[in-house]
Amino acid sequence: MATTVIPFGPQHPVLPEPVHLTLKVEDEIVKEAIPALGYVHRGLEKLADIRDYHQMIQVCERVCGICSMIHAVCYSQAIEELMGVEVPKRAQVLRVIWSELHRTHSHLLWLGLFADAFGFESLFMQFWKIRERIMDINEATTGSRVIVSVNVIGGVRADLSPEQIRWILSEVDIVEKEVRALQDTIMNDYTVKARTVGVGVLSKENAYLLGAAGPTLRGSGVAQDMRMLGYGGYSEIDFEPVVETSGDCWARSTVRFRETLQSMDLVRQAIAKLPEGELAAKVKGNPPEGEVYTRVEQPRGECVYYIKGNGTKHLDRLRIRTPTFANIPPLLAMLPGCELADVPVIVLSIDPCISCTER
């Protein structure tokens, strides 16, 4: 049979991320996919040469807008470990609250985009309408809707008042109720299942060997989530990873849906355990010589920061490995054998963030 080569992206009607795939297709069935990146590479790691270690928080927040809070947490934790800074408990738990709010709005954004990818416009609008409540919480508590910028080395720069806490708890209840109302549709609707069940299957073995991360890994049955490490305030709260086993687009979608509900529970737990105390420890001097390797769980999965200090205010090296970078090789394994029409849905199912990937 003749092979047709079809260029997919970097601009595509349902895919908002600039990734290009060269698809080799036989009779509408994808036989091979070769990726091409480089459309949004910014060289952010290199900025560590000219921005001091405090300023680099703002750079790390801009690796990815949707994951900005958790990038800042990961970088801050790395510097704090290198410098031996003890972060106050209140700051650690506040970081958990804003991290879980970030995870919620990221997953709601993705669930809407995913629904849009298979043409379910009303579901897309419902998820994005719910997401607005989380964005309002971010704006009211930090001053910004997306890049909240509350982290500093040693803690956080914003606090939650008792009135804000009561309001967040009432909003979280509403978000949970509204998300649950969509559960039957996103998990059981005939048209949703027709586009997601059995599509883009990634086996448990392949997910692990190909280095998948986050919902892509857990959707294939591997119970691994960096929050299990108990970093920062996560040591204070009960947490079990959400796992599905079918490894298809439906499983990855369901993991994110269930994690959205779980994040609401984690916000409640964190608020219940929010201690009184300082917001940030005093930080003096520069990071000493040494190296630190830190991992956190972002909405898209495991994020890794490696830093190397040299005793000055500039780092010798800042290396960032984002979850989408890890999920591209698994994506290349999902595509062969699928129908050409399913490619956008499968690509979206890893929740790609190419801005993160290329940095």
Partner: protein, 122 residues
């Protein structure tokens, strides 16, 4: 502060990575850093049940580095990224973007090495 580190060399890195794979480790990624004037340090990060193990290798930037993408396919992207950023070559890379994963053809400065120029592509 980074946990367990095993030193490896260009002669045994592929074998050691294979051992990690056979032992059930997941390749997380590599990190790189400048080592002296013309050297490159590479840390291969592995995970097994949330425990981290690193392999550390120091190489000269002008000598080819054995690729481990034949052992872990996932290594192909990070090896291509290192190729872009440090102007090094990997022997046996399963898909070589030839220094174009991120970089445009007209780039003449090696991104992560000061004052080292590369020939622009035609």
């Amino acid at each position: 502060m980074i946990g367990k580190v095993i030193d490896v060399t260009v002669d045994n890195v592929v074998g050691e990575v294979m051992k990690m794979k056979n032992d059930g480790h997941r390749l997380v990624t590599f990190s790189t850093y400048q080592e002296g004037e013309d050297g490159l340090g590479i840390l291969y990060h592995f995970d097994k049940e949330l425990e981290t193990t690193h392999l550390r290798m120091t190489v000269k930037r002008d000598a080819p580095i054995p690729s481990v993408s034949g052992v872990y396919f996932a290594a192909l992207l990070v090896e291509n990224e290192i190729r872009d950023q440090w102007d090094v070559k990997f022997d046996g890379l399963v898909l070589d973007f030839n220094r174009s994963l991120y970089l445009d053809p007209e780039v003449t400065q090696v991104p992560l090495v000061s004052n080292v120029k590369i020939e622009p592509k035609k």
